[in-house]
Subunit: 551 residues, 2 copies
């Protein structure tokens, strides 16, 4: 511990070296609060896991000094890790209505701790916690109810932006003016911790109305069925799509569990109140194709999604044919390009017209582009700029921009760095070695757990099972049994395995083997030799497991 | 067989539904020739293989009717599959000098068939083979000695473009004028089979001089060491880099086997003859950093490449530090985005300046953009346009462009389609079901081989080995042995496995087990039950292998 109680500290747990896993700690007067606790997705599939989690050990070690979790909004990369750590969280959680509504559904689906205390925040709420005061500041993003936090302490105020853009979603009744941000600076802001997602994108991010218009123009002239895929939590987009369906005389069908969950949560908290009834999927075949608008999950090419199923003509109810149109009202999250391309190519193969945001204005981002970042710096005028929420490339670009905005101190944080804010120049006091975690076999384990190494090795090499039965004196009492899985099915495999068995038998003719060396040494000897033979015959080094049974 | 001997047929074996694996067959008078035989790379890593190959079975089945292979240029996606099928190829291979020089080196490295007959083609060579006449037409690309082929028959001429661009590489003394293409059309061209790679890119592809200038402007002001990574076979780029090194007073170091192989091949055929001597890598540390220019392979983020090693500070000789610059003089091949990003982020993490073709003009493509395609259609004026070399999206865009150019017939081919060209309207006569192959365990096998299914299942679930020894009457004579690999290392695993062993023991107390059911049924019963328990305790369904040994 290189800090004292009165230090105001910022400690990024995740999200400062990758897209996703956002989790940021603040310390003051020996107490800690956390903003967000998100997941990320592996960009390689040779790990055999589907979710990445931030390191929770340090947070857990804080015990009663850890006072609360504040959620900026309901996206997976901000709330997704909560169900995995639910039984280790002993403090209350705060979030706006839609965020909490989504979180509740996720906790329920994962059958996790219902004892969590979930508090609903309203705009401008002030929560006093230890020596922190956390104020909820309205913002706009691609999900309902997003907020920034103004975290006040006696050592200075921090503006934690969360994910934001300046253009409001009119159809969610978002309503704030830029004076809100200007007035924050009245008392002086010590540090701004800010979204870097679009720090490489010039200009401004347009409003949702831009996507609405682009979608409407695209849909209105189509003759066949239209399917639009978008992010399930983008309720503003879904409202746009529903309105476009109404204006173009199409009925709405919704496919996909995540979409239905988000729509349900939106209804609960007062959005989507007066929407027309959603059609039953069974009605797809009885309505004229020109009167159908389907909304489906799967814009990232997820193999188990509704969209992927439809692209393979494998859905029970929905099928697209030549003359129909598929619209991707979404962006490609880096890492998903191939999966998306596969789904898109299947539609193209079937003669379906494909429209993406590269063809028409059918999507807008939820993050600030460079001009908006510059504007925000002019409003908030922080003494310290701390770009987060991005890879090194995003954070570097954002830091350069903050420098150009004449922000006196610009920090490029890394996960695990303990950064003291209340000194003349912000200083890294220490660095925690945080490990990315994964959820596997019902538990959270570090990504470098041995099981992944052996599984990955097996993916490339297959595995071999050898059983050897010997009597009390170490003599073989049946032929060694050897089988392989996933190495090769070449014709010569059976003969090869027989040769291996004979070879193992010959080992036991050697006196050394008979009780003179340990069982472990025998097994190792067999493994080593048989692996060599596999290498020679099949250019493979399978995982070999030897069962030596003495009777 | 739905065709007659006199049919002029086009049959894409690979490359018409993906990037890579280019291989295109032509038939006339009961004889076949093949243009190119390339590989592709898997875009998913959960297969445990690193190379994809086109289906060779049909080609093999042609026997003596298969007369020859013609190579347009030396890129992996055009020649890379030859070493894998070398022992099945019984016909001569033709290619230009650099292509054959590269192929020879690849065949040598893979220890394959040196009996292959490799013929060197010059520009304007005419090869008569069966009733085909194949003429070599000079073109330009991102590798030395690329050619198009004019394939003439009594039923009409086909222009097979290969990979091309219109702007020549001056520094390779490429020299052809557009009249060459215009004159081809004098006798009328039946069909043009043409590169679709950049069919979504507007405008024209600039000449190599554009990249030269951009690289020079970028390098000249740098104070530290500069490392440039590019495609190893891009000899024109390498010449540019060597010249820039000379002009900026830097010595050249070359890192990476593929680069050295390509430079060696280029020297053999007369390129790179008078280049300054390459420095020994050991000299890296004795030269001032401002006098160093390193060229390295690894622009696609390949984990085993020189560049990846350097980014991890793991190279014996070369290391980059703050103040140095890394330049990616290359494009991102779709599917490699994440791997590239990882390498780039490591450099950024170490404070090294990163420059890509998004920042500066440090790369040009080797493929024709839309304006060049339009120009080529105006030269060749084919009756039939056949876009190849791309995914469905590329081929669709190229086909639309050909339509807009008023080409009377536009075909969007799919791998395996047998397309008759010599009829009023080109017609698909038949479709072969070609399977993508992979190279695994020393053999070429279909991608849907069972071994990959079991390996992938194991990647996600781990595996379990059970050995059970019973006497002649079916009574257990030692406790069942059960071990797991890669499932979980939770604390309770040992107890769980002991419980499993006891459970299996209890099965044998059941009379049914004692010789009343077959060994296979016993093994299945054990598997089924133990898998259920694993599912309950670890949310995993491991692959289970049971050895039942009777003594």
């Amino acid at each position: 511990m290189n800090w004292v109680n009165s230090d105001l500290l910022f400690l990024p747990v995740g999200g400062s070296e990758e897209i996703g896993m956002n989790a940021n700690l603040y310390h003051y007067q020996d107490k800690w609060i956390l903003v967000d606790l998100g997941i990320s997705f592996p960009d390689e599939t040779d790990l055999g896991v589907d979710v990445l989690l931030p390191d929770f050990d340090f947070i857990k070690s804080l015990g009663k000094k850890f006072l609360g979790i504040f959620l900026t909004h309901g996206h997976e990369d901000h709330i997704g890790a909560i169900p995995y750590f639910a039984d280790q969280i002993n403090c209350p959680i705060w979030g706006t209505a839609f965020t909490i509504a989504l979180l509740k559904r996720k906790l329920k689906e994962s059958n996790n701790n219902t004892k969590l205390v979930l508090n609903v925040l309203s705009i401008d709420d002030k929560i006093e916690l230890g020596d922190f005061i956390i104020k909820t500041v309205q913002t706009s993003h691609s999900i309902p109810d997003p907020v920034s936090f103004l975290i006040s302490t006696n050592e200075g105020d921090i503006f934690h932006s969360g994910d934001w853009k300046l253009e409001q979603a009119q159809n969610l009744n978002e309503n704030f003016d830029l004076d809100t941000y200007r007035s924050l600076a009245n008392n002086g802001i010590l540090a701004m911790v800010c979204d870097s997602t679009n720090s490489l994108v010039d200009g401004r991010t347009p409003s949702e109305d831009f996507a609405y218009q682009g979608l409407y123009e695209t849909v209105k002239d189509k003759k066949g069925a239209v399917l639009i895929t978008c992010f399930s939590s983008n309720i503003s987009r879904i409202k746009s799509i529903i309105e476009i369906a109404f204006k173009t005389d199409r009925s709405i069908l919704v496919v996909g569990r995540a979409l239905l969950r988000a729509i349900d949560a939106a209804k609960e908290v007062g959005y989507l109140k007066n929407i027309p009834e959603l059609l039953n999927l069974k009605d797809f075949n009885i309505i004229s194709r020109s009167n159908i608008l389907v909304v489906a999950t799967g814009s990232q090419g997820e193999p188990n999604s509704a969209l992927s199923r439809i692209s393979r003509n494998g859905d029970k109810h929905i099928n697209l044919i030549k003359g129909d149109t598929i619209i991707f009202s979404s962006r490609k999250i880096p890492g998903n390009e191939n999966a998306i391309l596969k789904v898109q190519n299947r539609f193209l193969d079937n003669g379906i017209e494909l429209i993406t945001d590269e063809d028409k204005n059918v999507h807008v981002s939820g993050h600030p582009a460079r001009e908006e970042l510059i504007e925000m710096y002019s409003f908030i005028k922080p003494k310290i700029a701390i770009p987060v929420h991005g890879t090194r490339e995003h954070i570097e670009a954002h830091a350069q921009l903050a420098n150009d905005c004449q922000i006196p101190n610009v920090i490029k944080p890394r996960n695990g760095e303990i950064i003291k804010l209340n000194s003349l120049v912000p200083t890294v006091l220490d660095k925690k070695n945080f490990t990315t975690n994964v959820f596997d076999a019902g538990e959270v384990v570090p990504i470098d757990n041995a099981r992944f190494v052996s599984r990955k090795h097996t993916l490339w090499n297959g595995f071999v099972h050898i059983s050897v039965v010997v009597d009390i004196d170490g003599y073989l009492i049946s032929p060694p049994l050897i089988t392989q899985t996933g190495v090769s099915d070449k014709n010569n495999m059976e003969d090869f395995l027989l040769d291996c068995s004979l070879k193992i038998e010959s080992f036991f003719n050697n006196n050394e083997f008979q009780n003179k060396i340990s069982d472990d040494e025998i097994c190792d000897y067999i493994k080593r030799n048989i692996r060599k033979d596999f290498k020679l015959s099949f250019i493979k080094r399978p995982t070999i497991n030897v069962h030596l049974i003495r009777i």
